[in-house]
């Protein structure tokens, strides 16, 4: 663990857990070690937004499918307050891309080993995008579809390279040495890619709304 990372607060990371299954929250609470301090819990999206606004935690771990709005509503409302990591069993691509595009710091599968989850959560609290290989592949596929339908790929060649390496299971450090760049630069590429995804998804939504006459 790297405590001098900028943005990581001294002392334990204050976490809010949002999941409609009590047993999942209990499991997660038990599994998080002394690096974390669970300061609030919620079992639906509205509750989560209230708790996050009230407690201003360092990190939120949220399920994707919850009553009253789901993880997407939480991300949309609170992404500016602190990093939000989606912890889900879902592999439903649309949901996931929407959450990431809305500003989630990353997503993890509930089946991931617990030490991997907590390592990723520490990284996320430090502002590092938690970008799993499967998410990278999803995003890569999304941009590819976009490129085919609009004839212009918003990704630079280097960003594509980074994305592909993450999808192949490389860490930022490995990507850094593969491409002879600093790990931090690789991380920044990922951040930019997510930003572009965010923008293009948003303009997609606007286009959709205009075409279908929604307001």
């Amino acid at each position: 663990m790297d405590d001098v990372r900028p943005g990581v607060p001294a002392g334990p990371i204050r976490v809010v857990l949002a999941d409609d299954h009590e047993i999942v929250r209990a499991g997660l609470r038990g599994a998080l070690d002394e690096r974390f301090d669970v300061v609030g819990e919620a079992d639906d999206a509205e509750g989560a937004i209230d708790v996050i606004t009230a407690r201003a935690p360092d990190l939120v771990v949220s399920d994707l499918h919850m009553p009253r709005g789901g993880g997407l509503a939480v991300v949309t409302a609170c992404a500016t307050i602190c990093p939000i990591v989606i912890l889900t069993v879902s592999e439903a691509e649309r949901d996931l891309l929407d959450a990431i595009a809305a500003g989630a710091a990353g997503y993890l599968l509930k089946t991931a080993p617990i030490d991997e989850v907590s390592a990723a959560l520490v990284a996320a609290a430090g502002g590092e995008p938690v970008f799993s290989p499967s998410l990278a592949a999803l995003v890569l596929g999304e941009f590819r579809r976009m490129a085919r339908s609009t004839d212009s790929n918003p990704l630079t060649g280097r960003e594509r390279e980074v994305l592909q390496l993450v999808a192949r299971g490389h860490t930022y450090k490995e990507i850094g040495s593969d491409l002879s760049i600093a790990p931090k630069t690789a991380e920044n590429h990922v951040r930019n890619i997510l930003g572009k995804l965010h923008l293009s998804r948003r303009s997609d939504l606007v286009r959709y709304a205009v075409e279908h006459g929604l307001d």
Binding site: I23, T111, I114, P133, S134, A137, R144, A167, R168
Partner: protein, 375 residues
């Protein structure tokens, strides 16, 4: 489709009513000698014509009522057969109801569009073959009408017209039947998908959550239970999101099943990422690539003592495929193996035989990556 047919029935009935009404009231310049009605109209048998109009009206009413109460009644064999019989009857007595000189002279007939409706109805109920057979019968029925109309001055043109009628209605019947079959298949698929989504949602919210938790909590204490939970999780997932909905012939499913075969009986974390849309590589190349991926995963499982394997497959802009199989295992001295025999042989052979290539990158202690290209 049923609604459209019901509307068509009404239109046909109106048209038929119009034809009969106009014919019944129209006075012909010179009353024909063999007109039994004695009246100077174009109709020989106005009463029969009226009965026919009423019959079609009854069909239209019955169909419209059924659509509201029980649409499945319209798909019953009896209804469709009745409709077919009525259409043939109307076509056949056309020449008898009207005055001689009616056939081949005017496009107005007693049946008007009814054979077309019957063809659609039969197609919907029995499929393309029966409907096509019915359509072919419309020609002979019209020939009967011609005979009943006391027409005898046949020329090639007339036979050709009758043949064309058979062909037209036969083709129409086949088309309607084919469309109906297609429509039904799509409806079935949509219903299946809905059911699967619903089951998926429920299982996702309950069973998968629990399995994930069991897996996580037992990982250190009870590896056997953890493995059982992981297997159940994988199978359920494959059922919900994977094989059931995936195209069985896609590159993705070929790669996934190769990986599954290589890892069944092994407790290892394998991640498979496939972006296969736009793939234009030849089937043989895809097959070779999937096989080589399976081989590489088997090697990683057996020899590398890996904890985690990441499989990545991507299609490039030209539609060719790149694949990478990467493990975090012990690795080996790649140069020594490159030189000759060894575990990389069968992977390389597969790719070479299909016109692709393979590259193996490994460092002792730092895992192995097998890279494959279809070009």
């Amino acid at each position: 489709m049923l609604k459209a047919l019901a509307v068509a029935r009404w239109v046909t009935w109106l048209w038929m009513f119009g034809v009969v009404f106009v014919s019944a009231t129209r006075t012909v310049d010179a009353p024909r000698p063999n007109d039994p009605s004695g009246a100077d109209t174009a109709l020989r048998h106005p009463l029969i014509a009226s009965v026919c109009v009423v019959l079609v009206l009854l069909m239209a009413v019955a169909a419209t009522v059924s659509i509201r109460s029980s649409p499945e009644r319209l798909m019953r064999p009896t209804f469709a057969l009745a409709e077919g019989a009525l259409a043939l009857l109307l076509s056949a007595i056309d020449g008898w109801v009207f005055d001689p000189g009616h056939v081949f002279e005017t496009s107005q007939s007693l049946a008007t569009q009814y054979p077309l409706i019957a063809a659609a109805s039969l197609g919907l109920t029995f499929g393309p073959w029966v409907a096509a057979g019915f359509g072919i019968l419309v020609g002979p029925a019209e020939w009967l009408a011609v005979e009943l109309n006391e027409f005898s001055d046949y020329s090639l043109r007339h036979w050709f017209s009758l043949l064309a009628t058979s062909l037209f209605f036969g083709a129409a019947g086949a088309l309607f039947g084919w469309l109906a079959t297609l429509l039904r298949r799509v409806e079935g698929e949509i219903a299946d998908q809905r059911a699967r989504d619903e089951v998926g949602r429920v299982l996702h919210d309950t069973v998968l959550q629990t399995l994930a938790l069991v897996e996580q909590r037992t990982a250190s204490g009870d590896p056997e239970l953890a493995a059982a939970a992981r297997d159940a999780d994988r199978d359920l997932r494959r059922f919900l999101f994977g094989a059931a909905s995936r195209d069985r012939h896609s590159l993705e499913s070929a790669v996934r099943s190769a990986v599954e075969r290589a890892t069944s009986h092994h407790d290892i974390d394998v991640l498979v990422n496939v972006i296969d849309d736009g793939c234009r590589a030849a089937a043989a190349k895809q097959h070779a690539l999937a096989g080589a991926v399976g081989e590489a995963v088997t090697n990683a499982v057996k020899h590398a003592a890996a904890n985690r394997i990441v499989v990545f497959v991507e299609t490039d802009d030209a539609g060719e495929v790149f694949a990478s199989v990467r493990d975090d295992g012990v690795g080996f001295d790649a140069t020594a193996v490159e030189a000759g025999h060894g575990i990389s042989g069968s992977i390389r052979d597969r790719m070479d035989a299909a016109g692709g290539r393979a590259e193996i990158v490994s460092t002792p202690g730092a895992g192995t990556e097998v890279r494959l290209w279809t070009t």
